[in-house]
Symmetry: C2
Subunit: 157 residues, 2 copies
């Protein structure tokens, strides 16, 4: 079994419909599904196998628990301020500038972040941390890239 | 005037409706609009001013002319193979691995790329080339990044 982005979108919509605690009436956007595949596609097929899908689902359930913690009024969105705590709770350690960047990129005009944008942001963050660590083979906290390496790491996310 | 992503989506839909030669009945997705803002937002407001919007519109018209060249059957989508030529025509010089990555990331299960995905891909490519060049201040073709710099460059795209 290999799942492409459009199939993942349909599967996610059906699975989410059965999990009323998961905040997503509409499911996920195609773009979020494409990022999910890029994050989990460890064998470079551009699709997910069953094992990769299971890993993804586990991640989403973890992140959904954090989302629920901050979406106290059940509006299916959290504020940019709550997003900072959520990002921190998920184990990502960022600086103020990065929190501002995430708010600018993923929040709406009222500075709220809906569940789809929230998951899209977390999928990207996880992918970018993973790409950095994979490239930092000597573990000195610095990576050196030429332009093609840079594009290979950033365009599949 | 400052345009946020949701407003940009509405504006683009209205503008595209008046330009029948532009291949997008649905307009652009919110995700593509967010990437457009990230690309053109040179003053770091997270929104576009009129000048930035004009620059963006000029880019889209250029890229649309290239799209039209390959969408000969007027289906509003081009094949992954045609995408390689389109990327090349737009002045991006990539290797085979990168062409494969773009197809994996932006094409549907039939290996076709619709206009929204095409523009989203070009916006990202342009943004990533620009970020690399801005960081490569000594012009030696290599950038060195720590993890926070890496995230600052990649998460706002």
């Amino acid at each position: 079994m290999q799942i492409c982005a459009n199939e993942l979108k349909t599967i996610m919509k059906n699975v989410l419909a059965k999990h009323s605690e998961l905040k997503s009436r509409e499911g996920f956007s195609l773009e979020t599904c494409r990022s999910m595949i890029a994050l989990m596609d460890t064998d470079g097929t551009g699709k997910l196998n069953l094992q990769e899908f299971k890993h993804l689902w586990k991640k989403i359930k973890q992140w959904q628990l954090i989302f629920k913690r901050y979406d106290k009024d059940n509006t299916s969105s959290i504020s940019s301020f709550e997003m900072r705590n959520a990002v921190h709770d998920a184990g990502f350690h960022l600086n103020k500038q990065l929190y501002d960047i995430l708010a600018m990129r993923y929040a709406d005009e009222h500075l709220n972040i809906d569940f789809d944008s929230y998951i899209c942001c977390f999928v990207r963050l996880e992918g970018m941390f993973r790409a950095f660590n994979a490239f930092d083979q000597d573990g000195d906290g610095i990576i050196k890239l030429n332009v093609l390496e840079w594009l290979q790491l950033t365009m599949y996310s």
